[in-house]
């Protein structure tokens, strides 16, 4: 049986597809895995979100965007609740979302790496999102945002960003 609250929830989830990550504007917050749930209780809507990284500044922008987007659709009474468990992982990203990232020019996250903490071990090759060469090197483990690293493609001589697998 579909209740009123259920259909309301579906409607709100559909509207929230409009909210994108400001740094990765091809992914909605649902595709990114930041949007965890929507709870409808009477007039009140609680949007449950989890941060990508502990200090990600884009979280504030995404939370504000959730509130203004729903307000635009006539939902005034919105609260954002932040949860930390389960911890966000790039494994939540669907193949479709990964394809969107690659098309946008960001190499999608690979599988989670082993628990081996010792450095200088070989890592799985990363494919260049432009020319698909796997002859690429890590330029910088940290990128312009917490979730990305900077790589360089020896095939097409382009720097590119990699969405880090965590």
């Amino acid at each position: 049986m579909v209740t009123v609250a259920d259909s309301r929830r579906e409607e709100i989830l559909a509207w929230l597809e409009e909210v994108k990550d400001p740094e990765v504007p091809v992914l909605s917050i649902r595709e990114l895995g930041v949007l965890r749930d929507v709870e409808v209780t009477g007039d009140e809507v609680v949007v449950v979100m989890t941060p990508t990284y502990s200090g990600c500044p884009a979280m504030h922008a995404m939370e504000a965007e959730v509130v203004t987007t729903l307000a635009r659709h006539g939902v005034p009474n919105v609260r954002v609740r932040t949860v930390y468990a389960p911890a966000w992982t790039t494994d939540w990203m669907s193949d479709e979302a990964k394809a969107k990232l690659a098309a946008y020019g960001i190499a999608p996250p690979g599988r989670l790496e082993s628990e081996d903490l010792v450095p200088l071990r070989r890592r799985a090759p990363v494919e260049c999102p432009y020319c698909h060469s796997v002859n690429t090197i890590v330029r910088s483990e940290f990128g312009p945002t917490a979730c990305k690293a900077i790589l360089f493609c020896n095939g097409c001589h382009q720097p590119f960003e990699l969405f880090k697998a965590i």
Partner: protein, 283 residues
């Protein structure tokens, strides 16, 4: 740390900034009876991250290469984010209406509970990297244990922070390799950094009644037991980097009970000046 706007952080009450008045700061015991041991314990976890995060942020715009400038700023952001979550939880546990901003910006040095290692000045790039490596190797072990804390909020924060700490450790360990096994100059600087910092690592493995009570409640880490595993990681990386582990000896302590080096007060004066000049300011 938080910004004003349409947001409600986390679960629980969080404590509104309005309910707390600057100047009406509850004194935190530095010795003797501790009113709320779990609050104290959370401050220890949070302050390591807040102070080290601020130290790393001092490199922003000054690191030797652009990639490292970005890396240090990113690590700083992770640590300050973790501190924010832990201080918020600490404020809830304390129950006196202090939120993460009140705890970060309106406590004096004597009320900070970080280990002295993290408050030391950045020194040169080698000092910053070696310190970060020594801390990260310890931090990963602490967070691994805390993921099974009986306090669910703490366990959740630890699970999140652990992913970040592992990434930090991989990065700083690679840099220890590069500096130690690099040029004569980088080797000498890395060794000097290691020699200078080594005594301060002892405090990371010291525990007292506060730690013991947290462990007994299922939400703490027996840091003394982490020593051998930490030593194994550190010895391997330091050895591969052709550096030499210094001898144990002089071991300063006191940070966990509010006795700090002269450096912390100066750092806090810088870190807290804006918040104290404009209490309650938001951006």
């Amino acid at each position: 740390m938080s910004r004003a706007g349409n947001r409600e952080q986390g679960t629980g009450n969080g404590g509104s900034p309005d309910s707390w008045v600057p100047g009406a700061r509850p004194a935190t015991a530095t010795s003797g009876v501790v009113e709320n041991p779990f609050f104290e314990y959370l401050l220890r976890l949070a302050d390591d991250r807040l102070v080290l995060g601020h130290r790393l942020s001092e490199w922003c715009g000054h690191a030797p290469i652009l990639e490292e400038d970005i890396a240090l700023a990113n690590i700083a952001l992770d640590l300050i984010g973790q501190a924010s979550m832990l201080l918020k939880l600490a404020g809830e546990v304390e129950g006196k209406g202090r939120n993460e901003d009140a705890l970060a910006y309106f406590r004096d040095a004597i009320e900070f509970r970080n280990a002295q290692l993290v408050e030391l000045p950045n020194g040169d790039f080698a000092v910053t990297i070696v310190r970060q490596f020594l801390f990260d190797a310890w931090d990963v072990l602490v967070l691994e244990r805390l993921t099974s804390a009986s306090n669910q909020a703490l366990a959740g924060i630890a699970a999140k922070a652990l992913k970040e700490a592992k990434y930090h450790l991989r990065h700083t360990a690679e840099w220890v390799h590069m500096l130690g096994d690099g040029t004569a100059e980088s080797h000498a600087r890395a060794q000097r950094a290691l020699d200078d910092l080594w005594p301060y690592t002892a405090e990371l493995f010291m525990s007292d009644d506060i730690d013991a009570q947290a462990v007994a409640s299922g939400s703490g880490v027996d840091v003394e037991s982490l020593g051998p595993r930490w030593r194994q990681t550190v010895e391997q990386v330091i050895g591969e980097a052709t550096l030499t582990i210094p001898k144990d000896g002089f071991a300063p302590r006191g940070g966990r009970t509010g006795r700090h080096t002269e450096h912390l007060g100066r750092m806090l004066a810088d870190m807290q000046s804006l918040a104290r000049a404009h209490p309650g300011a938001a951006w």
